[in-house]
């Protein structure tokens, strides 16, 4: 279990980056997360999460194209690294194993 710790918000950002398949950058991530989770997200939170993820080596970024909406400024596009994928995988496995155990106890206990 020697994986790096991920915060809850970081995990969501990482997942979102993963589902956007190379088209993820600050604003769209913010809008996507807001849409999917229904909570209000601020841009600086997304940016700091991305920075932390990049420091931990879970995402990598490259400079992308500019649009006129951005005033000619280029985007920074994020993709999940192998390390990031593996971490997501591990988190998922841990959760699933717990859920497996929990699933039985949620069923009503009816005697024969």
């Amino acid at each position: 279990m020697n994986r790096t710790y991920l915060g809850e918000f970081e995990e969501i950002v990482l997942l979102t980056v993963a589902v956007m398949y190379g088209q993820a950058y600050g604003v769209v991530l913010m809008h996507e997360i807001a849409e999917q989770t229904g909570r209000s997200v601020k841009l600086n939170q997304v940016h700091s999460a991305l920075q932390r993820l990049e420091e931990k080596g879970m995402v990598k970024s490259e400079v992308g194209g500019a649009t006129s909406e951005r005033g000619g400024r280029r985007k920074r596009l994020y993709t999940v690294t192998t390390h990031g994928e593996r971490t997501l995988q591990q988190i998922k496995e841990v959760r699933e194993s717990f859920w497996a155990k929990l699933a039985n106890s949620f069923k009503p206990a009816i005697g024969l």
């Binding site: 600050g26 604003v27 841009l43 600086n44 920075q51 649009t67 951005r70 400024r73």
Partner: protein, 869 residues
Amino acid sequence: MSAPDKHPAKPPGLADRLLQLLLAPHLLENILGDLHEDFAYNVKRAGETQARRHYWREASGFVKPRYLKRRKDYPSVLISHDMISNYFKIAWRNLVNHKVYSAINIFGLTSGLVVGILILLWVRNELGFDRFHGNHEHIYRVLSNMGKGEDRRIWANSHAPIATFAKAEIPEIENAVRIKNSTDFVVFRYKDKQIRQEKQGYVDPAFFKMFDFKMLKGIRSNPFPAQNSVILTASAAERYFGDQDPVGQVLTADGKESFVVSGLVEDFPDNSSIQFEMLFPMALYAKKIALAYDGKTMDEDWGNFTYTTFLQLNARASHHEVAGKMAKTLVRNFRDIGMSDPYALQPLSEMHLYQTDGSDGLIRIVRIFLVVGILILFIACVNYINLATARAVVRAKEVSVRKMIGAGKFQLFMQFILETVLVFFLATLAAMILAYLLMPFYNNLTGKSMSFTLLNTDIWVMVGVVVFSTLALSSIYPALLLSSFEPLKALKGGLSGGVSAPAFRKILVTSQFAFSVALICGTIVIDRQLAYINAKQLGYDKEHVVRFELKNMAADMQSVRNTLLNSPGILGVTSASDLILDMAVTTTDTDWEGKSPDQKFFIHPLAVDKDFLTVFKLPLAAGQGFKGIASDSTHFILNETAVREAGIKNPVGKRFTLFGKAGTIVGVVRDFHFASLKQKIEPAILQYGPVNDEMYVKTNGRDAAQVIAGVEKLWKQYNADAPFAYTFLDQTYNHLYKSEQRLGVLFNFFSIVAILISCLGLFGLATYTARVKTKEVGIRKVMGATVAGIVQLLVKDFIGSVLIAILIATPLAWYGLNKWLQGYAYRIDAEWWMFALAGLIAVLIALVTVSSQSIKTALTNPVKSLRSE
């Protein structure tokens, strides 16, 4: 609610600018891009107002350390280390590659800075006089007002009692100190050392409480424990005692009185108006007075105005009010002399710079010099600006290439500022070294002992101010000009003729030359005035006259006179009661036939022997001189001014009373100058006195040295203890005009520097104009222009500027110099030829400077100039 497409809504600019300023450069693009994209999204969704508000909220979220911290390896766009070193490299190459240009620039700036530094040192020294006393703001000198209306005089001296009574009766006065110069003792002896002591004075004990002269030994609150105590300055003490501790040692004055050294004080600073080497207690002088006046004490002696009185007031007191209260004190303790304002108080710090009536004294010269200094610095700056803008043409291509590679305006601006800084650095360095080396000569010239030490922070501040103001003045315009070229135009050669800002440059050259012309005018007029003073007939013959004090010789006057007259080389001998060059004593104690009751004027009394008029070749306007007979004691000789002031018609034979002694006027002597030529001739009266203290020996000039040796030998027979001291009258006379002569020399020096710098600038400018016009000249020559025609073409512009400069400068100089001349009672008129001469000199200098370059260009083979590209 969305904005129309043609004008897409823009996010708040202020927020963007703040972010640009604050955020780390490597994050900026991404964050701003995201913010803008979000803004566009929000505008569509919720309208512009909402979006803007939201934008601020989002933007403020980024003001966090995480986004502000700069990455170390990321270069700052504005001032990068690499670029600065590159700027210096380019600047250095430019300096080295254009040696003439660099030399002209640095030399011009250096001379400007040196002169600026020297002048400011002088000004600072003069303005700082007497300001080193901690209490100087509360110390005042008591001035005595004499007479009314036309006859009003304001004396810097006062009588003794007012200090005592004012201190006792007026609560605002914290301290009162009287100072009296003393010549009561001449030679002091310690063991086998005999020294003629100068600068002695009596002071009240509060002297050291009021003033901040530093006491090295002794008690500040009680400096004179006994009446025979004496305080010496460090250098005076060293002369007597060497390395020994002076306190407690005994000095014998003139072989009579003994004094015990009770304290040691640091030498009085050069910038102090109060200068002594030896101080005695005022109580001692009071005792002498009581003896001389049969018991009349010093505080009853209201008639002698021989003291300088200083009052220290408390912080809230107004000196006008105190002067008013002193008038009442005078009435209470003496009598009503019928004057409402017998006293005035002058601040200590104004003593050196202003006259007693509050009008400008030395401060006028200080102001003139300050202006001259600033003008010279300005001329030097203008030089730099001119040369730098002229060079702009040559550099236009460099600038354009830099711009195309991507240099911003700010970077180019920085580059040129840094180049200026480099030139200034070199010039400042050279200026400091030069100023340091010149200090001894400068001190000699100004008669001061200023020092240029790098340890003195004041000097750094001053140099800093001079350098930075000059730098700011001379760097900004060229840098702005150079950085604002449009690259395409410049590359295509759009800056034709090398004159990118012709009007501006012309104004600069014109103003530069206007100042130079004004300075030349000043030099000529001051020089003429000084020559006039030197040549002015004083009304008597002062040549080759030796003056000395008789002392004990007076007792044997007749035989002394005979011995002297029989010696070779001596043409005449006479004695008088005062120095003929500078008669100080005045009185109003006079009466004459037909005097109206309210008529009163100051007259200078002088006791002389029978040979006085003949030795000094003083001509009589009427009557006769003294004959040396008994009845002469009731005879008077007046000068013409005195006769006029008194309004006596046919004066010879009329009655006249001086000091209560009635007599007859036997002669009228023609007016002669017995004071500085700055003053008008005042009334004088000669009375007969066969033996007087001041002895004058007229020599034939050739044998002067021999005569002095003979006189000294004779003098020693009578005054064995004292050293013989003599002066030549013409030397003393020159001394009276020392400050004017210094002013003259300094002015010459400064105007030469100013002209030199202007010429340098003109030369540099001419060089560049000539270079830029090489092709034009080539084509003209091919077309058949003559050398003379081309020179004329090149020179015309400059001469035009100089002519305009003369037109501007002459009236200003005329006005200023006339004001200066007003200070002299006997003066030359500022005549037109002086200004014409100044203008001519300026034109000639400009012509010579410019034409050498122009002729060179005109003579160039057109093939050469046209072939090169």
